[in-house]
């Protein structure tokens, strides 16, 4: 578990000073994902540790947040940065400025399982795989078998978190 708390900056620094061989080994260790059931939520629902150890890609995160088959965050949230994606919903608050209001750890927790932050919220948990009532096989209407695949992968969550961090109040 400990190695996962090594920050990316540290890892990169380590890799730079210690040479290619070690850097590879480092990547392998960091690539160990935190499984959905192993995520440690803090008191307010925050998740301090990266789910993958690989830095999120904000651009990829923007695509995930806007696409129906992935995060589909715009189904419920208005996001000015995604103005080119048609039809933003109004179920949840606007995500503009989310990067000012929340830390990366809080955002990670919100995307992974927002119910740990907001009890009873309508927002779905994107990194939860069991404990559902009548779990289905995606959108087929057929029964699914738990554990279900999470709606977003660990890296997709890191990407969305990176994107959310870019949402600053002008």
């Amino acid at each position: 578990m400990k190695h996962l708390t090594v920050t990316l900056a540290q890892a990169a620094g380590l890799a730079a000073t210690m040479g290619a061989g070690l850097a590879l080994a480092g990547t392998a260790a960091l690539a160990e994902e935190v499984a959905p059931n192993a995520v440690q939520y803090g008191e307010y629902g925050e998740v301090e540790t990266s789910l993958t150890g690989v830095p999120g890609d904000a651009e990829a995160g923007a695509v995930i947040a806007g696409s129906k088959s992935k995060g589909n965050c715009v189904a419920c949230h208005q996001v000015s940065a995604l103005a080119d994606v048609p039809f933003h919903g109004e179920i949840g608050p606007s995500l503009d400025g989310a990067g000012d209001r929340w830390t990366a750890a809080e955002l990670r927790g919100l995307v992974a399982n927002a119910k740990k932050t907001f009890e009873g919220t309508m927002m779905p948990a994107f990194y939860k795989v069991e404990g559902f009532i009548r779990p289905g096989d995606a959108y087929t209407g057929k029964a699914g078998t738990e554990p279900l695949p999470p709606i977003l992968t660990a890296q997709e969550i890191e990407d969305v978190v990176a994107f959310l961090e870019t949402l600053k109040e002008e």
């Binding site: 129906k68 589909n72 715009v74 189904a75 419920c76 208005q78 103005a83 048609p86 039809f87 933003h88 919903g89 109004e90 179920i91 949840g92 608050p93 606007s94 503009d96 119910k115 309508m122 779905p124 948990a125 939860k128 559902f132 009532i133 009548r134 779990p135 289905g136 096989d137 995606a138 959108y139 087929t140 209407g141 057929k142 029964a143 699914g144 279900l148 709606i151």
Partner: protein
Amino acid sequence: MKRQVIAAAAALALPFAAGAGPDDDTLVVNDEIEMVTKAAAPEHLSDVMDEIMSGWHFRSDETQALQMDDFENPAMVFVDQALETWETVEGSKGKSCAACHGDVEESMAGVRAVYPKWNETAGEVRTLNMQINDCRETQMGAEPWKYTGGKMAAMEALISVQSRGLPVNVAIDGPAQSVWEKGREMYYTRTGQLELSCANCHEDNYGNMIRADHLSQGQINGFPVYRLKNTKLNTAHARFKGCVRDTRAETYAPGSEEFVALELYVASRGNGLSVEAPSVRN
């Protein structure tokens, strides 16, 4: 409090949102039938909402207009077809619907408004569709129709038309009560990987946009509905099935005991609205 938060969010989202709550238009069909499309919530809902509203208020002006004139309403073609079926002899007993019920306008007036309802002989709550199939099997010796199929939806529409403008008035007490309670429990249960209940969308968020969709109260006083999207009549159970599936859940079968209970409950949330079927939706 919750609604205030949502309202604030809605205001923020304004530049992107197409809809802003239900409209205040009035629905008069054929310049003749005045529909009650907004009414005080029935007593059993009074702790969660003040007013119930037809799904008609949440549709665009163009879609709304299609429902105001039977010559414009694409669903009426199916009503005409069902009128032919009404007169057609089928099954081993050599009977048509008309053989037992005579003129549909007379015999079926007011029927839709009280369905689903308790059937004493059968000892069960019956939807209109169940009753139609029971007539086909028991009285006519004919094959039952597919629960959500075209023939069924058309016959349901024909029968519903005879109650247009009358207030929905399904009974929820007496022997139907336990079924109604089961339906209510389903309405508030958060299913599937998205963990959403009917109430999340249709009670807490009606009037709000969910992506491109303007959420209504999910009332069924207009069912069966003609949808421009699939250009056919759609039954309430087909709609339920779609909504449950969209929560990434294992859905229920149309005609199942569960959906019958849910239909009774959802119908009762519309007690007081006019029967509008067949209505038009996008």
